[in-house]
């Protein structure tokens, strides 16, 4: 059984059952590392990707619900050579300790900045309220998102 999904602008045929959560297809079939397994319960945000621009928990989104939707992951934002302002800002602020939550945080922040390009600090904190960080990097993460907003988060 194969299902077509559109990720970062390209269409892929993946040999997975229709009820497979998108997360495993991204990681194991497409070799995309950014989205992480954290809880499988849509509680922590480590697996966050954009589906048609909206932040979605890929661990509880089965691939048969996707249809023609456009999926965007951190890999679709930029590269080390050409980083997205959010990626550049997270590096500039050194906004990580272990960094396991960061890719999910970046995608949630992308959705926030697309909706609200110049958020206040409180709006950034609220926008990331559902993304858990265990290392206590909260403030650096918020600073990185505010820095990205200054750099022009929407590209």
């Amino acid at each position: 059984m194969a299902i077509n999904i559109k990720v970062n602008g390209a269409t892929h045929s993946v040999p997975a059952e229709p009820d497979t959560p998108l997360l495993y297809v991204l990681r194991n079939d497409l070799g995309l590392n950014a989205a992480k397994f954290g809880c499988g319960l849509a509680q922590c945000g480590a697996c966050t990707v954009l589906i048609d621009g909206k932040p979605v928990r890929s661990c509880v989104t089965s691939i048969d619900t996707l249809g023609q939707s456009e999926i965007t992951t951190v890999e679709g934002l930029g590269t080390l050579e050409r980083p997205h302002p959010l990626q550049a800002a997270f590096m500039a602020e050194q906004a990580a300790q272990c960094g396991y939550c960061i890719a999910g945080v970046i995608m949630a922040a992308k959705a926030l900045l697309d909706r609200n390009p110049q958020p206040s600090e409180a709006e950034v904190r609220q926008g990331l309220a559902e993304n858990l960080c265990r290392c206590g990097t909260h403030n650096r993460i918020v600073r990185a998102v505010l820095r990205a907003a200054q750099m022009g988060g929407r590209i």
Binding site: A16, E17, D19, T20, P21, Y24, R27, N28, G31, L32, N33, A34, K36, F37, G38, C39, G40, L41, Q43, C44, A46, V60, T61, S62, T73, V74, E75, G78, T79, L80, P83, Q87, F90, M91, Q94, A96, Q97, C98, G99, Y100, C101, I102, A103, I106, A122, R125, Q126, L128, A129, E130, L132, C133, R134, C135, G136, T137, H138, N139, R140, V142
Partner: protein, 781 residues
């Protein structure tokens, strides 16, 4: 598209074999045993060969090996800075290899905030000696005096302008020799790289989707495994209800995710409840479970390997539903957990005592403080990849100690340690001994059934909460006497706790979870008292203050109703919370300002300096009172009484209606000796403060007689982005002092500052952690 390819990562994780050996030359090995070698600084003492630490390649670049590993604390970057500094090489010409049983020194466990001191010190001396060896060679070739030569960026220059590069000298430089520590490292005044906020090496891959974690490792032909854990501690697998497998396996996976939560809360269903049970039948089970390559059972260890990850998950859920277990012993009642613990037998030791006459007319007060079981609760559940090939087991692991892990794996697998290689790869932050080691044995047990293919195992969320070793619950009792002149005349302090280390490095047993459930079960090592000054439950229990008379007693509770081990700071978090709370209670009794009261009892100049610095930074006003809602408090500690000094002031706001405590601002002053990387230090200190605030206000492992009920982020909430305080940190650099470990230095002071701020705000004291809305409302009445 990814800057760091999978292939590069796999290579970095052991694909390359380097042609060198960690074994000493026979000449060293044959030295008479009676001849004690001279003591060498840091970890050089146990790993005495220069080329175990540093090698210079034909390109003149350095390969630096460390037994310490990256846990998200930035240590690999800091160690690269130290090595590059001493070698006079640019940072990008220093390649780091860390935590590999076949390539790096054995530095035990990366824990206790000791990496900068132990590995950093070793690299400082090894680097200085390697540089001197290269200089000496250059001096000979150039016919110049070594002291007349200068070095920059790996190029040695004579006064007359002639130059030789490290590349030209590398082949002739014999580094396979014992370190001497006779070459003095650079003085701080000449540092160009140490002391700078160098960007971390590991962060770029983490923000562009590179291969950054063991979770991201994908080897050719890799299979996916999951383990079906018992319904509780000590449960025994009795059989399977295969009819049940047929009935449930058609459920969808997303549906199963919710279902799993229900499954996890099932009570053990023993045989004889009317369902049909059958023996373990590999062929029948495989036929019923799509994609499954093998079902592995060894006693009560049950696991499954499948071609695809979701198939392994689904199969594990189906197996969990059909497995029949005999329940283990019940848990104690959480409502009475502290009484239960205090009633258990203890091993008691007076760890510190000072005698003096007690003055007349003292006032005596006492107080009891409590800290619950807390979870490491990594964001990413533990993961390992294992491969058995030609009789050799290779395990990629985020363990804090690849060598101790190898020892326990050898026991569990009944293999020789030499036949096992453990290679560190980063995991989600662990904050101490979590399930990182356990999952390595899970993966290795499953890899034996994978016909040479690698097997990746990641625990599920509930596995991580239910089976990790928690930070132990603790009780602290303090009693002190205040003299008429307002000084502390006597200080008595007792702490009760389980051990804070059941790591694989502990002797006398196997500390890997799966080993206890095998058909021939292995036993964990017996708990033992960890000596001061590091201590275990009594870490930081000896006050740094100068009291004329004191007695500190450690009570080790040997029986462990819940699985426990090292959680960041061990006992220090609870002891500093208790002692610094008690200092404020005494200051109140003495009618003294908390900052002045601390200074009046503190002689240590560096301790005084951080207390004074934080008071200045926060604009502390002596005698300032809370208004019933807002208040501020201070907490101080020198971690382990031998590492970093931290003083913290917290501002709190108490919502008396909801009982919620908000912490809008936190200030800290820090003295970590010579600072290697200021930004990295600040990141660690602030992270510790924010994590401690989460522990202090929210965290407590919940359980009842039958099970642990903290199983996910809804039942074990942690601090969210909107709740984090603003944090201002002052770093006091002391380039003339040695660098001190800082990763665990701020948690205790932050907890005490918050508790003291609450008391200052409301006039009421909370002595039991966490400071939840329910406890706040109860104490405010």
């Amino acid at each position: 598209m990814n800057a760091i390819s999978r292939r590069d990562f796999a290579a970095g994780l052991g694909g390359i074999t380097l042609a060198f050996t960690l074994a000493p030359r026979p000449a060293f090995a044959q030295q008479p045993a009676a001849q004690q070698p001279a003591r060498l600084p840091g970890s050089l003492d146990n790993n005495r060969l220069l080329d175990a630490w540093i090698r210079i390649g034909a390109d003149g670049n350095a390969t630096v090996c460390t037994g310490k590993v990256e846990l998200g604390q930035g240590i690999v970057t800091a160690l690269a800075q130290i090595a590059a500094e001493e070698l006079d090489l640019p940072l990008d010409r220093v390649q780091m290899i860390s935590g590999d049983t076949e390539r790096t020194p054995n530095e035990g466990v990366t824990a206790g905030s000791q990496s900068t001191e132990n590995s950093g010190t070793a690299l400082r001396f090894a680097g200085a000696q390697v540089r001197a060896i290269l200089l000496e060679l250059a001096a000979k070739r150039l016919g110049a005096d070594a002291v007349s030569l200068s070095v920059a960026d790996g190029v040695i220059a004579a006064p007359d302008g002639r130059k030789l590069s490290y590349a030209e000298l590398a082949a002739a430089a014999d580094l396979h020799r014992e370190a001497t520590a006779q070459v003095r490292p650079k003085p701080a005044s000449r540092h160009r790289i140490v002391g700078k906020s160098i960007a971390r090496r590991d962060i770029p891959a983490k923000v562009v989707g590179g291969v950054a974690f063991v979770q991201d490792l994908r080897l050719p032909g890799m299979l996916h495994g999951r383990v079906v854990r018992p319904p509780g501690y000590g449960a025994k697998l009795e059989g399977f209800d295969l009819a049940r497998i047929k009935a449930v396996r058609d459920g969808t996976l997303v549906g199963w995710i919710a279902e799993r939560e229900m499954l996890q809360s099932r009570i053990a269903r023993p045989l004889g409840d009317g369902t049909k049970s059958e023996e373990f039948d590999q062929a029948r089970l495989k036929a019923l479970l799509p994609g499954v390559v093998a079902v592995v059972r060894d006693g009560s260890f049950l696991g499954v390997i499948a071609e695809r990850e979701e198939q392994a998950i689904k199969a594990s859920l189906v197996l969990a539903e059909s497995a029949r277990w005999k329940a283990g012993p019940p848990l104690p009642d959480q409502v009475h957990i502290y009484d239960h613990l205090l009633a258990l037998p203890t091993e008691d030791k007076v760890v510190n005592e000072k005698q003096a006459a007690l003055p007349e007319g003292v006032k005596v007060i006492e107080a009891t403080y409590r800290k619950p079981y807390m979870a490491h609760a990594a964001i990413g559940p533990s993961c390992a990849v294992a491969q058995l090939s030609d009789g050799k087991m290779t395990v990629w692991t985020h363990s804090q100690g690849v060598f101790p892990l190898r020892g326990n794996l050898a026991m569990g697998l009944k293999m020789r340690p030499e036949s096992i290689r453990c290679i560190h790869a980063e995991g989600s932050g662990c904050y101490g001994h979590n399930a990182a080691d356990d999952v390595a044995l899970d993966a290795a047990l499953l890899a034996r059934a994978a016909a040479g293919r690698p097997v990746r195992v990641q625990w599920m969320r509930a596995d991580e909460f239910l089976w990790e070793p928690f930070g132990p619950a603790m009780v602290m009792k303090a009693r002190a006497a205040l003299s008429p002149d307002g000084r502390i005349a006597d200080w008595n302090y007792d702490v009760w706790s389980n051990t804070h280390s059941t790591r694989p490095s502990e002797p006398g047993g196997n500390n890997l979870l799966a080993s206890w459930y095998l058909a021939e079960p292995q036993r964990p090592s017996p708990p033992r008292m960890q000596p001061q000054p590091n201590g275990g439950g009594d870490r930081n229990a000896v006050p740094l203050y100068d009291f004329p008379r004191q007695r500190i007693t450690n009570h080790l509770i040997r029986e462990m109703p819940l699985r426990v081990s090292a959680l960041r700071t061990l006992g220090a978090y609870a002891n500093v919370f208790a002692m610094e709370s008690f200092m404020d209670e005494l200051a109140l009794l003495a009618n003294a300002d908390p900052v002045a009261f601390r200074l009046a009892h503190m002689k240590d100049a560096r301790a005084r300096a951080v207390i004074e610095a934080v008071a200045k930074k926060a604009g502390w006003k002596p005698g300032e009172r809370g208004d019933g809602r807002k208040g501020r408090g201070i907490g101080f500690a020198k971690y382990k009484n031998l590492a970093t000094y931290v003083a913290v002031i917290a501002d709190v706001e108490v919502d008396r209606a909801s009982g919620r405590i908000a912490v809008p601002h936190v200030y800290a002053a820090v003295d970590a000796g010579q600072i290697v990387n200021p930004d990295g230090l600040e990141n660690q200190i602030e992270g510790g403060i924010v994590q401690s605030m989460s522990w202090t206000l929210k965290e407590e492992v919940k359980f009842d007689r039958s099970e642990i009920s903290s199983r996910d982020w809804a039942t074990y909430p942690i601090l969210t982005m909107p709740e984090a305080p603003s944090v201002e940190i002052e770093l006091i650099d002391r380039p003339e002092e040695r660098s001190l470990g800082a990763g665990e230095a701020s948690q205790g002071p932050a907890a005490a500052a918050i508790a003291n701020a609450f008391a200052a705000a409301t006039g009421k004291r909370l002595r039991e952690l966490p400071l939840t809305p329910a406890r706040v409302k109860a104490v405010l009445g």
